[in-house]
C-alpha cells in the first residue's frame, strides 16, 4: 500500500497509446459467457439475451502485453436482454459523466429495436454486470459502442420476428416490428416483445459487424430526445457517489503529505485516537482516519501531527525550460510513432520566401470536476464492492484487485452517473483509499476529496512547450513545417494543412507534476500552437487568415466547417480595431471537425479582455442527438475559455500554490460570451464522438482576435491570466 502516492501509470501519451492499442483482452469468452448467462437469467428471469462479441483485433483493451496473432481471444462488449414483461435492459461498460451517452445510446437501441425509449434501461459501468470495457474516453462511445448496441438491438429485433413467425406458422418476411410489437399486416395479428420472450432462455452472441439502418433512415436516433432521467437532476434525486450511503457506513479521510514525493518520518495520532469512534490507519506512507461523520473525520485529521520529508522540487518559474530537458527514460514513446516526416523540410525552407520561428507554451491546468473524486467501499467476506465516479471502472477494479491481493472476480466497481470528469477520472485513487480504510474499519467507508485535495492530489493536463518553424511563399503557400512538442502530448500533432515538407515530433519529458488525460488531450495545445502560427503566417504574407487557411487546405470537411463558421459569424464584414478584434481557428481530431470564430473587446483603460461572441461550427458525421450535441459543443467552446484565458496551476517546491476556486479562476457567468453553434449533419457518414474536439478552437481563435485588435501576439496559454498589460 503506497497511500496517496499510488503510481499513476497512465499519462497522457500512454492514454493515447492505450486508445490506439490493439491489445487482446484476458477475458475468456466461454468462462465469462457461461457465468453471465446463468447470472443473467437468474437475475432477470427468462427472455432473450443478445451479446455482441468483439475480436480482439477490434477490441480496445487496457491489459498489458500484446497478444500474438494466434492467441487472439474474443470478448463480449455488450449485452441486451428482452424480459418477459417487455422491459429492455442493456449492459455496457461505458459510463455517463455528463456527455449524455445514456440518452444517445438509448436512442440508437430504440431505433433498431423499434421500442419506445422509456422501455430501455441502460446498466452502465458495473463491472459485475457489464462486459469488459476499456473506459469512457477518447470520444469512442459514439463511433464504437453506438454501432455495437445498434447491432445487438437489430439482432434482437430480427429474432423476435422469427419467434413470431414460428408461433403463427407464417413466413417472417411479411412481419413488421414496431412499437415493441411484432405485427402481421395480413392477419392484423400482433404480439408484444414481452410475450414473445416469455418462457424463453434464448442466447445469441453476434460478431461486431457494421450496423444496418443508415442514418438517413433514422427516426429516433437523430432527434433531440430529452435526457434520460433528466427529472432526477432537477429534483436533486440523482445519487452521485458522494450522496451514497450504506448501512453502518463511516467516513474516511486521508492525511495528505506536506508536499509531492514526501515520505513519512513520524506520526503522532494519540489525540485523534481518543476521539469517539475514530480509527487511525497507518500503512507505509499512508495515514488515514475513519470517523462516524464528515466533521468528525475532519477533526481527527487536524489532530494528527505528521512529519514528512520531501525532496527539493522545481517551480512553475522554470517549468518551460525544465520540460525541454530530455526525459530520464529515453526511448519511451508510449507506443506512438515519435515523428512524422514528409518531403524535406530543409528543401522546403530553401524554397520559402519567408520563414517564421516561434515558441508556444501551455500551462498545467486542473479538471476541477464539480463532483470531487469520491468512493464508497464495502468489504463482505473478502469481496470488495466500490461505488466511485471513474471513467475506467474495469481499470479501477484491476487496480483494487492488485492493491489488495484479491482476484478481480472478487472486486466489483459500480459507477453511478457522475458529476463530470473531462479526462480527470481515469484512475481510482479515492477507491483505493476508501477500500483501505474500509478494510481497517470493518465497515463501509466513504471518502470524498475536498476541493483542495482535488486541486493538489489529482493529476493535471500536461504543460508543454511547442516550437514551430515554417516557411511560406509570397502567394501564401506553406512549403515547410517543423513542429516539436515537448511533453504536452501527441494528440492532433499532425497538421491538417496540405504542406509538402513536414517534420513533426513529440518529445517526452519528465513532468514535475503528476499529469494525465484531459478533454481533447494535447489536441488543445497542438491546435493552439498550429492555429496561432498559421495566423502569424497569414499576417506575414498579408492575407486574410481565413483565406490563407483555405488556400492551404485540401480537406473538404475542414474547409466546410471553416466556411460555415465564417458565414454565421459574418467574417470579414467588420474590420478589427484596437478595442475590438476578430479571430478564427479550427482543426480536426477524433473524427470531429471544428472551426471557431471569436470576437473580443479590450477595455482601453483597464486593458481587460472580454470575449463577446463565439461561433463554433462542428461536424462529426451523422448527428445522433442534435440537442445533446449542441450542448456539448457550446459547453466545450465555453470551457475552452478557461484554459484559453486564465486557468493555470501554480506550483513551487512540491506544493500547489493556488489550490482553491478563489485562486484558480474558472469560467463563470460573467465570462460568458454569446455562443452560437452551427452543426453540419452528414447523414452519409458514420457518427463520430463530440465530447472533446469542440474545445480546441477557442484559445487560438481568441488569441488571434486579440492580435487582430492590438497587434500583441500572445503565445502562451492561458493568454491573459492577469489582463493584457502584463501578458505581452
Amino acid at each position: 500500500m503506497s497511500g496517496n502516492t499510488h503510481t499513476l501509470d497512465l499519462d497522457v501519451a500512454q492514454a493515447l497509446a492505450l486508445e490506439n492499442a490493439q491489445q487482446g483482452s484476458t477475458l475468456k469468452l466461454d468462462y465469462r459467457f457461461e457465468l453471465q448467462r446463468r447470472e443473467f437469467f437468474k437475475l432477470l428471469g427468462g427472455g432473450l439475451l443478445v451479446g455482441v462479441c468483439v475480436s480482439s483485433l477490434a477490441q480496445e483493451s487496457g491489459r498489458k502485453g500484446r497478444p500474438s496473432e494466434e492467441n487472439l481471444p474474443t470478448s463480449l462488449a455488450a449485452w441486451l436482454h428482452v424480459a418477459e414483461d417487455g422491459k429492455i435492459t442493456v449492459y455496457t461498460g461505458k459510463v455517463e459523466v455528463g456527455q449524455n451517452i445514456r440518452t444517445s445510446l438509448s436512442q440508437q437501441i430504440a431505433e433498431e429495436l423499434r421500442v419506445p425509449m422509456q422501455s430501455i434501461q441502460l446498466v452502465m459501468g458495473d463491472t459485475a454486470l457489464c462486459p469488459f470495457d476499456m473506459g469512457t474516453f477518447g470520444s469512442r462511445t459514439t463511433p464504437v459502442m453506438g454501432p455495437r448496441l445498434r447491432n445487438v438491438a437489430a439482432t434482437a429485433r430480427e429474432q423476435l420476428i422469427t419467434l413470431a413467425a414460428r408461433r403463427w406458422q407464417v413466413s417472417r418476411d411479411a412481419l413488421v416490428a414496431a412499437d415493441g410489437k411484432v405485427t402481421d399486416p395480413r392477419s392484423r395479428k400482433s404480439i408484444s416483445y414481452g410475450e414473445l420472450s416469455r418462457g424463453q432462455e434464448l442466447v445469441t452472441v453476434i460478431p461486431d459487424d457494421p450496423p444496418l439502418e443508415l442514418p438517413k433512415d433514422w427516426r429516433i436516433a437523430g432527434t433531440a430526445a430529452p435526457k434520460v432521467d433528466g427529472r432526477a437532476f432537477v429534483t436533486g434525486e440523482h445519487k452521485y457517489t458522494p450522496d451514497m450511503k450504506r448501512p453502518g457506513m463511516l467516513v474516511g479521510k486521508v492525511v495528505r503529505p506536506s508536499a509531492f514525493k514526501a515520505s513519512l518520518v513520524s506520526v503522532d495520532s494519540a489525540e485523534a485516537e481518543k476521539m469517539p469512534g475514530v480509527t487511525v490507519v497507518r500503512d507505509g506512507n499512508f495515514v488515514g482516519v475513519v470517523a462516524p461523520d464528515e466533521p468528525g473525520a475532519m477533526r481527527a485529521v487536524k489532530a494528527i501531527r505528521a512529519e514528512w520529508k520531501a525532496p527539493q522540487q522545481s517551480s512553475d518559474a522554470t517549468l518551460f525550460s525544465d520540460l525541454r530537458k530530455p526525459t530520464s527514460e529515453p526511448g519511451e514513446t508510449y507506443g506512438m510513432n515519435p515523428s512524422h516526416v514528409a518531403g524535406s523540410v530543409e528543401q522546403g525552407f530553401a524554397s520559402a520566401d519567408k520563414t517564421l520561428s516561434q515558441t508556444y507554451t501551455v500551462a498545467y491546468i486542473a479538471h476541477a470536476p464539480l463532483e470531487p473524486r469520491a468512493a464508497l467501499a464495502e468489504w463482505n467476506n473478502g469481496k470488495l464492492t466500490v461505488w466511485t465516479g471513474t471513467q475506467r471502472p474495469f481499470a479501477v477494479r484491476d487496480d483494487l484487485a492488485e492493491t489488495f491481493h484479491v482476484s478481480p472476480d472478487n472486486v466489483r466497481v459500480i459507477v453511478p452517473d457522475t458529476g463530470s470528469a473531462y479526462g480527470g477520472k481515469h484512475v481510482g485513487d479515492a477507491a483505493v483509499e476508501a477500500a483501505r480504510l474500509a478494510k481497517a474499519a470493518g465497515k463501509p467507508v466513504r471518502v470524498v476529496w475536498t476541493r483542495e485535495e482535488e486541486f493538489t492530489w489529482a493529476y493535471f493536463r500536461p504543460a508543454g512547450v511547442i516550437d514551430v518553424k515554417s516557411g511560406v511563399r509570397k502567394d501564401g503557400t506553406v512549403v515547410a513545417w517543423r513542429f516539436d512538442n515537448y511533453n504536452s502530448g501527441p494528440s492532433a500533432i499532425r497538421t491538417p494543412y496540405n504542406i509538402a515538407n513536414q517534420k513533426i515530433e513529440f518529445h517526452a519529458s519528465d513532468s514535475p507534476l503528476r499529469q494525465g488525460s484531459y478533454r481533447g488531450l494535447a489536441a488543445t495545445a497542438n491546435h493552439f500552437a498550429r492555429e496561432t502560427h498559421m495566423d502569424e503566417l497569414a499576417h506575414a504574407v498579408g492575407m486574410d487568415p481565413l483565406e490563407f487557411r483555405l488556400k492551404n487546405l485540401q480537406d473538404s470537411r475542414l474547409a466546410a466547417v471553416f466556411q460555415a463558421a465564417a458565414e454565421k459569424f459574418g467574417w470579414g464584414r467588420e474590420k478589427s480595431f484596437p478595442a475590438r478584434g476578430f479571430g478564427i481557428a479550427g482543426g480536426v481530431e477524433k473524427g470531429g471537425y471544428i472551426a471557431t470564430c471569436a470576437k473580443v473587446e479590450i477595455d482601453p483603460t483597464s486593458r481587460d479582455v472580454a470575449v463577446r461572441r463565439i461561433v463554433a461550427a462542428f461536424e462529426c458525421g451523422a448527428i445522433v442527438n442534435p440537442d445533446g450535441l449542441r450542448n456539448q459543443v457550446a459547453g466545450a467552446a465555453a470551457q475552452g475559455l478557461g484554459g484559453g484565458l486564465f486557468e493555470a496551476i501554480e506550483f513551487s517546491n512540491g506544493k500547489i500554490t493556488n489550490a482553491h476556486f478563489a485562486d484558480y479562476r474558472v469560467p463563470r457567468f460573467s465570462d460568458m460570451p454569446k455562443i452560437e453553434v452551427v452543426l453540419l449533419d452528414r447523414k452519409d457518414l458514420p457518427p463520430a464522438g463530440a465530447g472533446e474536439t469542440p474545445i480546441v478552437g477557442t484559445a487560438p481563435a481568441v488569441g488571434n482576435a486579440i492580435f487582430a485588435a492590438t497587434r500583441i501576439r500572445l503565445r502562451s496559454m492561458p493568454l491573459v491570466p492577469r489582463g493584457l498589460q502584463k501578458a505581452g
Binding site: N100, P295, H367, P369, L370, T418, S420, Y422, G628, A638
Partner: protein, 161 residues
C-alpha cells in the same frame, strides 16, 4: 448540540456538532443529498440553499445559525408532484450536462426570480456569478432562467386579471 431546524416546512430535531455546517447537517443528518458539496469554500455555489428566501452557501453557514429560520433545499421546491417553474424550465431546455451544479443553480435562480421576477440577462449573470458550472452549460442556464422568468411574468399577469 441539539438544534431545531425548519427544513422545507418540516421541523427537524438534529444533534449537530457546534462546528458543523448546514450543508453537513442537511446531507449527513437529514439525508437531503440534493444539496451538493463542491468546494467547502463558498466559491462554487453547488451547496446553495434558501434561508428565509435568500440564497446562502450552506457549506459556509453554521447549522446553529440556521436555527429558527426557514430553510429551503432543492427537495422542497416540488409541490404535490409538480415541479417548481425553475425546475421545469431547467428540464425543458436541458440546462445541464453532468447535473452536479444543477441544484445550486436552481436555488440561486429561484432566489433571484423571487426578488426580481423579470431580470435582464446582465442581472442574471451578476446574481448567479457565484455559481460554477464546470461543464460550462451557462448559455443554457441563462436560457432556462429566461424561460422561468417569462413564465413567472405570465403568471403574475394572469393573477392580476
Amino acid at each position: 448540540m441539539s438544534l431545531a431546524l425548519l427544513v422545507n416546512g418540516i421541523e427537524h430535531k438534529v444533534d449537530a456538532a457546534p462546528d458543523q455546517s448546514l450543508l453537513s447537517v442537511l446531507r449527513d443528518n437529514l439525508n437531503l443529498t440534493g444539496t451538493k458539496y463542491g468546494c467547502g469554500e463558498g466559491q462554487c455555489g453547488a451547496c446553495t440553499v434558501l434561508l428565509n428566501g435568500r440564497p446562502m452557501r450552506s457549506c459556509r453557514t453554521l447549522a446553529s445559525s440556521a436555527a429558527g429560520k426557514s430553510i429551503t433545499t432543492i427537495e422542497g421546491l416540488e409541490q404535490n408532484g409538480r415541479l417548481h417553474p425553475v425546475q421545469e424550465a431547467f428540464l425543458k431546455v436541458e440546462a445541464f450536462e453532468c447535473g452536479y451544479c444543477t441544484s445550486g443553480m436552481i436555488m440561486s435562480a429561484v432566489a433571484l426570480l423571487k426578488q426580481n421576477p423579470s431580470p435582464s440577462e446582465s442581472e442574471v449573470r451578476e446574481f448567479m456569478k457565484g455559481n460554477v458550472c464546470r461543464c460550462c452549460t451557462y448559455p443554457r442556464i441563462l436560457q432556462a432562467v429566461r424561460v422561468a422568468s417569462t413564465r413567472a411574468v405570465e403568471r403574475s399577469v394572469e393573477q392580476a386579471r
